[in-house]
């Protein structure tokens, strides 16, 4: 479960290799050596994770998928994608220390 103030960014050392011609991307996680295939949705989420908070990501992601998904579906998809990316070590979550 994430908090709205949690921040998300690419984990240290992770290499993202876009394959636009195949509509996917690959992520290499050197700290736990693995190559993970990302579909267009998780690829987009990984790209948006530049230190933004969850609240900011929800807004950006909803904007990006507005033509195909409503706000609730977008939020659910974002949270599932983020959970997968964090679990795989591709995205790092930092809890916001601010009060």
């Amino acid at each position: 479960m994430f908090c709205p103030t949690d921040r998300f960014e690419r984990a240290a050392g992770v290499v993202l290799r876009p394959m636009p011609e195949w509509g996917r991307a690959y992520a290499y996680t050197p700290r736990r050596p693995a190559l993970t295939e990302l579909n267009t949705t998780t690829w987009l989420i990984a790209t948006l994770c530049d230190g933004a908070t969850l609240a900011e990501l929800e807004e950006e992601f909803a904007d990006a998928v507005r033509r195909v998904a409503g706000d609730n579906a977008a939020r659910d998809t974002l949270h599932r994608g983020l959970a997968m990316l964090v679990e795989a070590g591709i995205i790092a979550r930092t809890e916001d220390a601010a009060p």
Binding site: G13, M19, P33
Partner: protein, 341 residues
């Protein structure tokens, strides 16, 4: 750069993402089926450390994210771990080895470097077969000790075998040995017409029906927990259409199994991505092959199978792969045509 719709890839790729780096042609073993004519002494014209590091930087900058390092025996180079460390910081890196020099300390260092998987070649389930195939007594025991050390340090291990006449009867036993050693994947590779294997072809090669029977017997009784990988078309999707490779001397060769047949450019003087657009490379990637199944490309991401084998048997780049049961059409795989390399 090639573009969709042009000859140059099926499916099309702007740039390759995976590459086989043939680090060296030196090896402490003397395998009958060696593809690289390896020797114990380093060849004078192998790339030096600095050049390999520069090339790895170039590959990473151009999108390679998956590197398979093989030889020869990569660990026979004094600088192997420095080169592997440079690679693992930039791309998913796997290593093919005979494992005979991997002790506990080496295994710990390879784990620490972040090697994603180690592929270990075994040529038989018994010391009599394996050691005779690799030409050095004690090699099977040393390799199994190496696998055990890798597993103790948590490195995933695949066991590979090149299927040939001396080991075909031991294939099920070798799968059991691999599983017992802690491997989670068993790769059965076909014999390729390269190097010493080419010269010993008549003694090593099996007919296609013998190969298919061995694979069927193996698949029917595969040990639990062991994944089977095999390199007969149409299961050889890791092939010309997407692969890239560099030989120990810095030449782009597309695929390690093309090492005796093509040269797409000297990477000491030619940018690597320029070799991706070599006319022959583009032609081989296109999958323009006589007699391939109509649905092959859609289901297997490749058409017509291995170009190395096709060329060796038929002398044409657009010839069918004779190791495919559909495209074999009576080709006796035990008889390799005497064709200049």
């Amino acid at each position: 750069m090639s573009t969709p719709g042009e000859v140059g890839g099926t499916p099309w790729m702007a740039r390759p993402m995976k590459l086989t780096l043939c680090l060296t042609a030196r090896c402490p073993l003397d395998c009958r089926a060696c593809y690289a004519d390896c020797g114990a002494r380093p060849a004078a014209d192998e790339l030096d450390t600095a050049t390999w590091l520069r090339l790895i930087d170039e590959l990473a900058a151009n999108g390679v994210i998956n590197m398979f390092v093989e030889g020869g025996e990569p660990l026979a180079r004094d600088d192997a771990e420095a080169i592997l460390a440079h690679a693992t910081a930039r791309m998913f890196t796997t290593l093919r080895t005979h494992a005979v020099t991997i002790d506990d300390a080496t295994a710990a260092r390879l784990a620490g470097l972040g090697i994603g998987r180690v592929y270990v070649d075994l040529m038989g389930a018994t010391a009599a077969t394996h050691d005779a195939m690799v030409g050095v007594p004690g090699s099977l025991d040393a390799a199994l000790a190496g696998i055990a050390a890798l597993r103790r340090h948590g490195v995933p291990v695949s066991v590979l075998v090149i299927l040939c006449r001396p080991n075909v009867a031991e294939l099920p036993a070798l799968a059991r040995l691999a599983a017992a050693a802690g491997a989670d994947e068993f790769g059965v590779l076909r014999l390729y017409p390269l190097g010493r294997a080419r010269r010993a072809w008549s003694a090593l090669a099996l007919a296609l029906d013998e190969q298919m029977a061995a694979l069927a017997e193996l698949a029917a009784d595969l040990p639990a927990g062991l994944r089977l990988m095999q390199s007969w078309h149409p299961n050889d999707a890791n092939c010309c259409w997407q692969n890239a490779a560099i030989d120990p001397y810095g030449h782009a060769i597309g695929c390690p199994y093309l090492r005796d047949y093509v040269d797409y450019g000297d990477l000491r003087t030619t940018p690597w991505l320029e070799t991706w657009n070599h006319p022959l490379y583009r032609r081989l990637r296109a999958g323009a092959v006589d007699g391939h199944c109509r649905d092959c490309a859609s289901s297997q991401l490749t058409r017509g199978g291995c170009r190395s084998t096709a060329y060796a048997f038929h002398g044409r780049w657009d010839a069918p792969d004779p190791f495919c049961v559909t495209m074999n059409k009576g080709t006796d795989l035990r008889v390799l045509p005497d064709r200049p390399v």
